[in-house]
Subunit: 285 residues, 2 copies
């Protein structure tokens, strides 16, 4: 049986064919922990090799530790780079879900790892090309709002829930007259009975679009579409059809939801990413 150490340590890989992750790792046995991540997140069990762990599987499918074996033996904490072969998945369909699963999967649960945080990722062009990126971008948005020589001014609807559509209209009116470019509904406002999504978006977008025409600059009313599959997509389509300029989705919808939303390729609406709660992932404010 081939020795995995002959394959797992490489100082260099083809950057066009690998996703390269940088971890900060703490372990009493740094070397074993590093191997556990690279093996466990690609071909198999960290410690047990099977008769089918062939040289070809190790060469082509095993994730590689971008360091010398000897550099890891005396460490107990530090940075670690691991290269994951993109041949292991289907970039378009497996997508964000599999990328996250490869980068931040089972290694988190392994006993010998005391602490492991993903600090950075380099994606090859082949992967990046599969993601559309922002459709408009801030420069386009600020130009449309005529916020050229001044700040792009945003206002958030408060109270964020409990308001009726007529109260919402009053607040939007005040915001518009106050000169905002961006009106955000907060992440708590889904589709409650007292302020239904479709009705409020129809009413508010009409009001905002009328005002926009009057003043000759676009105003980015951003309804919250935060909800489960397939509702957030339906809400996005509806909002876009009303001519709203952005929609707001919180990260608890799941990261793959952003790809599905971007793939809608909405005509008018930009996507506002809301991070409420992401501290569970990042550990920082």
């Amino acid at each position: 049986m081939p020795n995995i150490d002959d394959y797992i340590f490489q100082l260099d890989v083809d950057k066009g064919e690998h996703i390269i992750a940088t971890y900060y790792l703490e372990s009493k046995d740094f070397l074993a922990a590093a191997k556990a991540i690279a093996i466990g997140q690609s071909i198999g069990n960290p410690d047990v090799r099977t008769q089918r762990d062939s040289p070809q599987i190790m060469r082509d499918h095993l994730a590689k530790i971008l360091d010398l074996r000897i550099s890891l033996t005396s460490k107990q904490k530090g940075f670690l780079k691991i290269a994951f072969p993109i041949i292991n998945f289907n970039i378009e369909e497996d997508g964000v879900t599999q990328i996250l699963c490869m980068l931040m999967g089972g290694q988190m649960d392994i006993d010998i790892i005391n602490h492991c945080v993903l600090k950075g990722v380099e994606f090859p062009k082949k992967v990046l090309d599969n993601f559309k990126g922002p459709k408009f971008g801030m420069e386009n948005i600020m130009r449309r709002a005529k916020a050229i020589d001044r700040p792009f001014l945003g206002g958030i609807i408060k109270p964020k829930t409990g308001i009726t559509i007529s109260q919402l209209k009053e607040m939007v009116k005040e915001l518009l007259e106050g000169g905002v470019d961006f009106i955000k509904e907060d992440e708590i406002l889904g589709n409650p009975a007292f302020c239904p999504f479709e009705e409020r978006v129809r009413v508010v977008s009409e009001m905002v679009n009328d005002f926009s025409r009057e003043v000759g600059r676009e105003i980015f009313y951003t309804p919250c579409i935060n909800s489960d599959y397939p509702y957030f997509l339906e809400r996005a389509k509806f909002a876009d059809s009303c001519g709203v300029r952005a929609v707001h989705l919180n990260f608890w919808a799941g990261f793959p939801a952003y790809k599905a939303l971007r793939d809608l390729d909405m005509k008018n609406a930009a996507i506002f990413f809301q991070k409420s709660g992401d501290k569970v992932i990042t550990g920082v404010n």
Copy 2:
């Protein structure tokens, strides 16, 4: 303007109309932190009240701290119960996304919170009724496998990636002859070109179903459907149509993905929840 303290502390709420969360919280100002969570995750800004924060909004929409104000003033750490009114969202559509967003949203980002972990949640019947729960359950699964007076025996495909369909067939044959009830594809195996999902599921399910008929007990081949929306749903439908007995989805697909998958109401296939990477949420192995 009404005083929020007259509304936010309640020893009791209608359990049929609230989701009750238990947090473990650490803060130099426990009282202010508790209020920040209850206010910030329901009606608005923790510190700034607007003229529209009416008694009705505070009564019906504000989340309530289930304790006396006085009990919180001398604390710096401890448990905290907060009741979130379900009137604030649409249970069916806003769903898992909004529940998580309410329970684990912006409070994580607030300066005065040193540490805050969600420890438990009580759901009212109205919320639970909206989730279908397991379609089969372990008792049904074990009966179908005829694993009555013996353990339900599972085997995992290793190497988890890099194998061809013909190698997969060999391994499945060995597992079947070895007497397993459950054959799991690991979370890394998506839809790679060298082992395409539809082809392998068609080939393996036929093999497993033939063997099942021969031995007179069901075997739960569980292909990994881990992928982005809408692909995981398409893969689930395809696998179910091939008569597989379960599908495997990892939590990185996003929690709302499980609801969408359960809503498919697959004829044959149970849902296997895979937790690889959930330590970022739970903090524990």
